[in-house]
C-alpha cells in the first residue's frame, strides 16, 4: 500500500557524488546538474532530499569528519602505549595508502576555503576541527604524562600539529609535485618525538 522511504540511502549517494565533483570542480562549479549526473539521479530529486545545495555540503563536512575519526580508531585498535596511539593517529591522518582518498583530501581543502565565507559550513568545520584538536591533545597529554612531564604546552603543540596536517592536505592537493614523497607522517613523528624528548 505504502512505499518504503529510501531517503537515508539517497542522501548518502548524493553526498558521495558531491565529494567526487567537488574534488574536481570545487563547490561553486559543482552544479546540481553535475552532482545529479555523478549520482545517476534526476536533478530535481536532489532538492527533494536536501532543501538547498548548502545542506549537501554541510552533510559532506560531517561525513568526512566522521570518516577521519573512524580511520584513526581502526588503526589505533591495536596500539598499546600512548606513543603507539599517537603514531597511529599521525599515520591515520597523514599516511599514504590504506584508505587515504585523494578526492576526500581535495574536498576537505575546498571545504576549508568555503568555511571562510559560509557561516553554516564554518560551524560544522569548526566542530570537526575542535574534536580533532581535543583528540590530539589527549594523545599528546598521555605521552607527556608517561614521561612525567607537565601538560602545560600541550595546547599549542596540538595546534601546530593540526596546522601541519591541514597544510599537508592543502599542499598535497594544490602543489603535489612540489612536495617530497611521503614526507608528512614521518616528519611529523620526528618533530613531535624530538619535542617530547627535549621539552
Amino acid at each position: 500500500m505504502s512505499r518504503r522511504p529510501n531517503t537515508a540511502q539517497r542522501r548518502s549517494e548524493i553526498v558521495q557524488a558531491l565529494l567526487a565533483t567537488m574534488a574536481e570542480y570545487g563547490y561553486e562549479k559543482s552544479t546540481i546538474q553535475l552532482i545529479a549526473q555523478a549520482a545517476g539521479l534526476a536533478p530535481g530529486l536532489l532538492h527533494y532530499h536536501f532543501k538547498t545545495k548548502g545542506e549537501i555540503l554541510v552533510e559532506l563536512v560531517r561525513t568526512l569528519a566522521q570518516l577521519s575519526l573512524q580511520r584513526y580508531h581502526a588503526l589505533a585498535a591495536n596500539a598499546a602505549t600512548p606513543d603507539a596511539r599517537l603514531h597511529a593517529y599521525l599515520h591515520a591522518r597523514l599516511g599514504k595508502g590504506d584508505g587515504a582518498d585523494p578526492r576526500a583530501v581535495a574536498a576537505w581543502v575546498v571545504i576549508g576555503a568555503e568555511a571562510v565565507r559560509l557561516p553554516e559550513v564554518r560551524a560544522v568545520y569548526q566542530e570537526a576541527i575542535g574534536a580533532e584538536k581535543a583528540l590530539l591533545e589527549d594523545l599528546l597529554g598521555a605521552c607527556l604524562a608517561e614521561r612525567g612531564k607537565s601538560l602545560e604546552g600541550v595546547a599549542p603543540l596540538a595546534a601546530a600539529l593540526l596546522a601541519m596536517m591541514e597544510g599537508a592536505f592543502q599542499l598535497a592537493s594544490a602543489a603535489p609535485g612540489s612536495m617530497p614523497d611521503g614526507y608528512a607522517a614521518p616528519m611529523a613523528r620526528q618533530l613531535v618525538d624530538s619535542h617530547l624528548a627535549a621539552g
Copy 2:
C-alpha cells in the same frame, strides 16, 4: 596631448579590490560588479585592464607571493646568523601584528582552494610555493651547516614547516576561535630548534 597612461595604478587598485572581496565572499562570489564597487571603478573598466576575471586572480596570487617575500627580507635585514634568519622567516610568515593582514591570509586560503581546480592558478601558486620552499631549504640548510650536520633531511623538514604555515593560515581564517593565541610562530621555532638539536 594624450594623457599619461595610468594602467599600472589601475591594475593594482583592481587587484587590491579583489583581495578585499575575496576574503569576505570567496572567488566565485566576488563578482566583477562587486570588485569594481570595492575599487570605486565602473564595472566595464575592469575588462579594459584585464581580459578576464581569472587574470585578476592570477595577478593577485603573484602580488601576495611577492609581498610575503618582501616581508621576510624586511625582517631579516638585521639578522646576522643563520638561526636569526630562520627565526626572522618564521616570524615574518607566522607572527601576528607587524603588517600581518587577516584579509590577505583569508584570500590566500581561498586561492589555495582555487588552485586545486584552476590550472592557471595552480601554476602560479606552485611557483610561489616552490620559491618559498627553496628559501626555507636554504635557511634550514645554513643552520644545519653551521652545526656541521648533514643536509640530507632538509627537504622533508622544509616541507613540513611549509605545511605548518599553510595550515596555520587555513585555521586562522576558518576556525579562529579554536586555536591558542599566537601559538604558531613560537611553536614552529621550538619544533625546528628541538629537531635541529636532536637530529
Copy 3:
C-alpha cells in the same frame, strides 16, 4: 470485502485545505505539497481524487458559492416581508460574525483574480455571480413591487450592490485597517433604502 469508498469525504477535505492555503499564499503558491500537508494527506493522493490542481480550485469556487446561498437561506428563513428578506440578504453577505469566515473572504478575492485569466475558473465564477445577481434582482424587485414601482431600474441597482459586496470583500482582505468597523451591511441598507424611497 472491499472497503467503502470515501472519495466524497476526501475531496471535501482537499477543497477545504485549498481554502485554507489560498487565503494565506494565493493560488499559485498553494502547492500540491502544501495543500496535502494542510489536509493531512500524502501529496500523491490529491491527484488520485482530482485530475489537476485546477479542478480543486473549480470545486472550491462551487463550494463557496453554495455556502453563500446557504447562509442567506438560513438567515432569511424567518423573514416575512420583501424588505426583511433583502435586509437578511445584505446581512448574510456583508455582516460580521455569524459564520463570516475571513479565510473564505480572502479566498474569494483570490478566486476573483484567477477568474480574470483562467477560463474554467471564470466560467464557474460567472455562474456564481449570475446566480447571486438573479437572487438580488428578485429581492429588489419584490421590494419595488410592494411599493408599486416600476421594475425598470432593478438590474443596475442589483449590479451596483453586487459590486459593493465584492469590493467590500476585496478591501476587507487587502486593506483591513483602512475601513471603518462594520460599515458595509448598514451602509448598503441605508443606500438601498434611500434609493427605494426616492426612486
Copy 4:
C-alpha cells in the same frame, strides 16, 4: 567619455510591459521572459533595472494609483461646485471611455489579490486606497457641508463608495457579460444623490 543613464525610461517601459502581461496572464504567470518580450528587452536587463520581480510590481501599483488621481484632476479641472467635483470623481473612476483602460482595471484587480498575500504590495496598495478614501471623504464632506448637514456619516459612506468602485473593477474584469452596460457611474451617482437628499 561616459554614457548617459537611461534608467528612468527603461524602468517605465518595464512597468508598462508588466501592466500589459498581468492583465492577460496574472502576476505569477507574467514571467520575466514574458515581460521582457512585451517590453522588447533582453530578460537579463530587467534585473539590471529592478532588483526583483516584486519591485516591478510595487512600482506598477504606484504608477496606477498616480494615474487614477491624475485622471480625476484632469476631469475635475472645470468642476465649479462640490457636487460637480463628486460627479467628476465618480466618472473618472467608473466611467467608460475617456482613457478608461481595461488592461489597467484588470491589472488592478490582480494587484488587489496579490496584496492579500504580499506584504510589500499590501503596503503600497493600502497607501493608494487610503489616499483615495481621503479624497472621497473630502468630496462627500463638501457636498454635505453645502447642504448644511452633519459630516458624521461621511466615513462609512466613502468606504461604501470605494467598495463599490473596487467591486465594479472586479466584476468588469472577471464577469464582464454579467453586468448591465455602463451601470456603474450613473448608479453610483444616483445612490449617493438619494442618500445625500434623504440623510
